[in-house]
């Protein structure tokens, strides 16, 4: 587990170095994800330890969002001032994105066959 966690952190570290050094406005962990994906493709898959560690982290993914969300206590004023705009924009844009990408993907997959 320590080895698997080290691997995840090394990927994140290298990813962050790449993001910082190139100045590309993409967060380091995303580059880390790409690095790990490339590594897994070369090694033909994760070893059992990495599998277990990754599953453990992803199973509690929801917990990891909580601290950032608690920041709501600092933004109550902005939220209240723009409540209507937000209450319309979030559901409409989410439905639109679900519909566009879902229908688009289904259509394109059928076209390929």
């Amino acid at each position: 587990m320590v080895r698997a966690l080290s691997l995840l952190l090394i990927c994140q570290l290298l990813g962050t170095v790449i993001a910082r050094a190139t100045g590309v406005p993409i967060p380091g962990p995303v580059f880390g994800l790409i690095l790990l994906l490339a590594l897994l493709a070369l090694r033909r898959g994760p070893d059992p330890a990495l599998n277990t560690t990754a599953q453990g982290l992803l199973r509690h993914l929801g917990l990891l969002f909580v601290p950032a969300g608690v920041a709501v206590v600092n933004e109550l004023g902005v939220l209240r001032a723009n409540a209507l705009a937000i209450a319309i924009a979030l559901p409409v844009s989410t439905l639109l994105a679900l519909a566009v990408s879902g229908l688009g993907m289904q259509l394109l997959l059928k076209g390929e066959r």
Binding site: C11, P27, L63, F65, V70, A85
Partner: protein, 238 residues
Amino acid sequence: MPGLYHAWVYLQSGPLLGLTATLLAWQAASWLDERTGHAAWSNPIMIAIALLALGLIATGTSYRSYFNGGQYVQFLLGPATVALAVPMHANLATMRRNFVPILLSMIAGSLAAAASAMLIVAALGAPRAVVISIAPKSVTTPIAMGISQDLGGLPALTAIFVLLTGIFGSVVALPLFRLLRVRDRRAQGLAAGTAAHGIATARLLLESDTAGAFGGLAIGLNGLITAVMVPLLVRWLI
């Protein structure tokens, strides 16, 4: 009891209290979620946040003081984002086969999510910082907060938008797919991951592993697409 008061002041300055409270709130929320049989309205993330926010307000604790402990949980989002490569790899072969459909439908969905949200809040008079903060709301939290910060938005506000988007998406995704007859599991997962990141993907994962894998792929790819696209949208739209 002045001793107790001193202990309270001491705890407020360290990470122990915030960290313990976060884990306890999460367990309480998960317990509640199980008791309701995972009802659509019961979202453990939202409940845990509400419990903690109410706790902060009731005890007059600042967010900064809470975050002394909360940051350790948040830090794990980085390695968790990297770990998404594992489920992505499991479907690498399928992914490579469907590369063009995936890329095209994701760019379309990503553009629809960011542009429509930005245009709506801008039309309803929201200030520039809010328009920027809402742009990456369909992307997973660490990436979305990074984009928001780079462009002059409010990262905390973005985190809330991301969360609300995810919860809304996880509730409406399956009914919407039924309505629109999107039956292909790959399309369902991809759309959920594109429109509402990990939270909706987690919901889809309960239905199908394939949907979960495509959702995981979409979360990562959408982070990339949105990070490239939003700076351009900000320049053109506002």
